[in-house]
Every structure is written in C-alpha cells, then in structure tokens.
C-alpha cells in the first residue's frame, strides 16, 4: 500500500509527477493544465493559492505571515497580474499561545499594506495538539491581469535577468532552526515583487519567482518548453556572502536553494539593458544581473546549461528532492 512521503511535497520530481499524473487528469480543465503560478480566468482575472507551513514561524528577515502575503502576491506578479485581494485561512494547533498568533496577524497586516492587497475573506480552524504544528496558513489571491506571459515568443538572443541574490531565504530558515551549527548574518529575502509589474507593459516575455527548487528548477522547466537551450553564467549569478560560505562549507548548491523575493525575467534582447536599469533602480533589485541568454551555440533544445567559472559546461536538471523540509 503506497503512502504519502515528505518527498512528495519537496518540489522535486515526485511532486511534479503527482501534479501531472493525478491532479491535472482528475479535473481535465484547460485552465489548470497550464500549471502557471496563477490561473488566468475569463474577465481579466488571475487567481492563485498557496499554503505556508514554515518551521520556525519567525526567522531573520521574515515570518510565516509575511511569507503568506508575499508568496501569493509574487505568484500573481509573475503571472502578469496586479495583486488586489487575498483570502486568509488559519489552521491552528490547540495550545498555541495567542501572543504568537497576534504577532503573525500583525505581520500579515503590515505585509498586505505594503503590497497594496486587501484581505477580504478567511477561515479559522483549530486541530488537536499534535495534529498540526502551531500555525499553518493558506492564502488565495486574486489580481487584475495586465499582460499575458508569452513564452512562445521567446527567441534566440533574449536575455535572462535574475533580480538579486540566491538562497538567502532557504539558508535563513534553516539556520533559524539551529541546524548545522552555523551562524551568519543571513536574512530571508521575503518581499513583494510589485516593482516588476511595469516590465510587463514594456514587453517582458516571461517571469517566475524563484522559490522551491531554486533557479535551476525554474529555468529547467522553462527550457523544457523552448526550442532553444538556455545558457547561464556561474560568474554572473549574484550570491550573498553567507550563502557563499554555507555553500562551500556544507556542500550545498545555491542554484537549487529557495528565495522568497527574487524572480527571473526573460527580456527581449533589445530591451535587456533598459530592463536591468529599471530593476536595479529599485532597492529590492540592486543586485540584479543579466545571467544568461536563450541561444543555440551549445547544448540541445530543452537543456539548461551553466558555464562554470573556469569555462566548463555543466548541465542543470530540476531539483530532485530538497533536503531541507518546510522552508515555506
């Protein structure tokens, strides 16, 4: 008898197989089949949902409340929609200190205000002690679609822009759990990506926020849909010092680590310089960089390649399983 393992929720292959093999065919809906970060509904609406189970609830740079707002907001932004309304549902564990819940609610209020979204409906359930873990949050988001992502228009020479450093969120949460005996000044990058919205009107072709599975997973999934291989350059990928240190020390790869306030943007070749200037002009995009391009000099269609610091080529595959559970 098969049972659900933690691996299913890791963002890896098992999860993708589960969604493609069980969820999508069960409902056979063309809107679901696109599997974007949000569904684009008739009438110019975008609709998305996400659940948050991060452990611990509070970590440097963020908390579950802030994550629950920004995660859903960002799914709308990268789907070409301006976030407007959020639902808020709690699953609380019996015995939770109400002060903890108050802190989470305050954080949600602040984050929602900052992101310009209204919380307009919700739900609260309490489960017996041990049947949950302190606080789980679900948010659904509705936004007004301002542009449709156009991955089918991506051409050779188009540029891949990363809006900042990789892995800070994943590392901040892990170290907040006191794991690996490592301490650093790392902070989660949890933030709303609203400053990317104007790029849609300027011809952005595709965006995706870099969450579970990291940059390698996000770009591998894009590469699978394109007739050209993608090539990114290791030297151009911005990393914070704490992430660099953790990567060397623990042997983990920042390309597979989760962020909560970073996105990749595919820009038409002619606009890449303009896009980069605009992204860098925002405080959350200061370390943005063009990290690669759509090309056909190396690799085969469908592949994502990394040119290493010394000029070698490395094939990147989607994350198979994240070794760090419950980071979002």
């Amino acid at each position: 008898m098969s049972k659900i393992s933690l691996e299913l929720g890791s963002g890896g292959r098992l999860m993708r197989d589960f969604i493609a093999g069980k969820i999508v065919p069960s409902f056979a809906d063309p809107l679901l089949r696109d599997l974007g970060d949000a569904a684009l509904l008739p009438g110019g609406l975008a609709f998305t949902t996400d659940s948050y189970v991060v452990d611990p609830l509070f970590f440097p740079g963020g908390d579950i409340g802030r994550l629950a707002v920004n995660g859903t907001v960002n799914d709308l932004v990268v789907s070409g929609a301006e976030p407007r309304f959020l639902s808020l549902a709690f699953i609380l564990e019996e015995g939770l200190e109400s002060e903890v819940l108050d802190r989470v609610i305050r954080s949600i209020r602040t984050a929602a205000k900052a992101a310009g979204v209204r919380i307009v409906t919700g739900d609260t359930k309490v489960v017996r002690r041990g049947q949950g873990d302190k606080v789980f949050v679900n948010t659904a988001g509705v936004g007004r679609s301002i542009a449709r992502p156009r991955p089918e228009r991506i051409r050779r020479g188009d540029k891949i822009i990363l809006t900042g450093t990789l892995g800070d969120h994943s590392l901040a949460v892990t170290l907040a759990r006191g794991e690996y005996g490592l301490k650093s000044g790392v902070r989660s990058d949890c933030a709303p990506l609203l400053f990317l919205l104007p790029l849609w009107k300027r011809g952005a072709l595709w965006m995706r926020d870099v969450t579970r599975g990291g940059l390698a997973t996000v770009l591998s999934e894009l590469a699978e849909r394109l007739p050209y291989p993608l090539l990114i350059e290791e030297d151009k990928i911005p990393l914070s010092r704490p992430v660099r240190a953790a990567a060397e020390l623990l042997g983990i790869d920042p390309l597979f680590m989760a962020c909560e306030g970073k996105a990749v943007v595919v820009a038409p070749a002619a606009r890449a310089g303009d896009f980069l200037r605009r992204i860098r002009a925002h405080p959350l995009g200061r370390r943005a960089a063009v990290i690669g391009e759509v090309q056909d000099r190396v690799g085969r269609p469908g592949e994502l390649l990394l040119r290493t610091g010394v000029g070698g080529l490395r094939l990147l595959e989607p994350l198979t399983s994240e070794l760090l559970p419950r980071i979002c």
Partner: protein
Amino acid sequence: MKPLRDPAALKALLGDIGERARRLKRKPRLMEVCGTHTMALFRSGLTPMLAEAGVEMVSGPGCPVCITPNAVHEAAIAVVTGVEGVTLAAFGDMTRVPTRLGSLQTAVPARGSRLRIVYSPEEALDEARRAPDRPVVFYGAGFETTIPAIAYTVRQAAAEGLKNYAVLPALWLVPPALRAILEAKDVAVDGFIYPGHVSAVIGAGPYEFVAGEFGVPGAIAGFEPGDILLAIRSILDQALAGRPGVALEYSRAIGRDGNPVARALMAEVCEPFDAGWRGLGVIPASGLRLRDAYAGFDAGRRFGLGAATADGGTDPAGCRCGDVLRGVVRPEGCRLFGTRCRPDAPVGPCMVSYEGACLIHFKFGPERRGRG
C-alpha cells in the same frame, strides 16, 4: 587560495604535464581515488584539458555513498520505518540512494519517527543529549576522514552514559581498497592521486605499499585545481625517474604523519573486519565496526538488523556502479547512463551522490560539450 585557480599558473602546469606525458612510453592513466577530486576536476573544467595534455583520468572508489552496499542502506531504512519514536540522523547524500525499499527520502517513517539531515555527527549526539528518552541512530558513513568524528560520538555517548544513542556504521578504509584494485589487475593504473583529507588522518605511510610492492607512483593532493595539477606533475616525474613514491603536495594542510590523535580514537572505538564493498566484493580488513566494549552503541546489534558484513549485495539490474567504482568502465560505458538512470531517477548510487562518478559525468561530461 585564489592563485591556485589562476589560469596562467594552471596553464604553466598543464604545459609541464603535457611535456612529461609525451616523454612517457604510453599515455598515462591516473586514478583519482577521491570523489571530491572527481568533482573538483570536472567543476574546474580540468578533465578535458588534461586529456589534451595526454593524461587519462579514471575515477576510483572514493565515494562512501556509492560503495556502501544496498544491504546497509536497507538496514537504515528498516530502522526509521520499523522502529517507532526514533530519529535517524544521516548525511544528506545517504538519504537518496534507491533500494528495493525505496530511499530514506521516500520511506514513510514509523509513528513518531523521523529522518534528520545533519552536517556533523555531533548534531546527532546533541539530539540524543537533549531528549534522553528518544532513541537517536546516526547512520555513520565515511572513510578515514569522517570515522574519527563518528568514533568521537560513540566514545562520548559511552562517557556520558547516553543509552539512547547508537550508530549504524558504514565505515570504510581506503588503503585496502587500493590493494584490491591493484591485485584485481582489471584496470591498469599508472598513478594514484591520493585523497587529501583521508590523508589528513592516515598520513602518507599507508600508501607506501603501492609504490613498494606494485611500483605505482602517487601523490597526495589538495582540492584546488592547482593542487591537483601539482600532484599529477609529481606523479609523472616519479614515473619518468623510475622512482615511485608517495609525494605530499598538500603540505599546507597536512603532515606526512597524518593525525595520530584521530587514529588513536578510531582504534579505541573501532576494529577492522572483512567488509563487503559494492563492486569490489569482500576486501580483507577494509571496514571498521564498533569494538565489543561499545556494542551497546551499535544500532545493528541493538535493533537486531542483519549484520552489514555480508557480501557486497547486488546492484540493481543493468546497473554497473560496481564496475564504475573499480575504474573498469567509465560512466558512459553503462547502458543505463543518461537513459534509464538520470539524476532525477537514479538507478544506482553513483548517480545519486554529489561525489558519484556517474552524476558528475552526467553534469559535466565532456561528451556533452559543444553538442548542439
């Protein structure tokens, strides 16, 4: 250590290596014993440059995840799925090896049990200290580099009377494996790059037999591109001079005598036995197990698991990890490589571990370069 990655210095060394390789009668084939060296060679792009310079590199058995037989991986899975309320602590790579029972990642733990990934064995010991009523089993796998740290936790648990701590050992010794490879003669090796961090513990002495009995030169190397090239140049110099030895090209980090404190700790806690390796079979005195004085900390004995001493176990059908570990075939020589066996659906452990030759070849393999 930036100068050790300086392209100009590396080019100078590659020039020296090419010049020496040409003077040898046949194309030298060197084995990098350690998986971390394999990774460093591919990551830095040195492998094709060395091929151009006339040096062939083959990977050795230096990946503990890979050479641990599936019987042991299955014992670890049996602990977490069969015992209630236990924490199984393990290094990350160990949790993804596919077996008949799935992997530690896909296994569903028994009620109250959980898997925990650790960086240091001491994290597992700390968990046992925090909750003395909860059994903690550390899946202790490694070579001489890691064994002292694992032995430390056992001795410490004994000293502190931590009865809830145990180790499931998968402890491997490098020199006996080298002897097995040399005696099997199914791959001709003209020189060994010895593992720098294993040597930090055992020193240079245990490799002397390779030069003395088999006439094969070698050098202990660090892990920067420059370190590896220095070691290769030294090996070729030894070959040209007809004076094989054990050169130390990592003297900033280790001494020829290694770390006697670490060795004494290993000897106090562990004893050698004839262990079965994946691909290499049973090798005399090539594994360590806990001494009888520490039997209470052996998870195998405590939970009645089959002794991990049996034969090497069998590879999954069609999988040639065993041959890859002996250096007999390159990963590309396995029919499953890149087809049925891929990083996101590995068949054998060499496609799982970050030090596994198949995973490294898949990611960086020269046969992929420029194909388009």
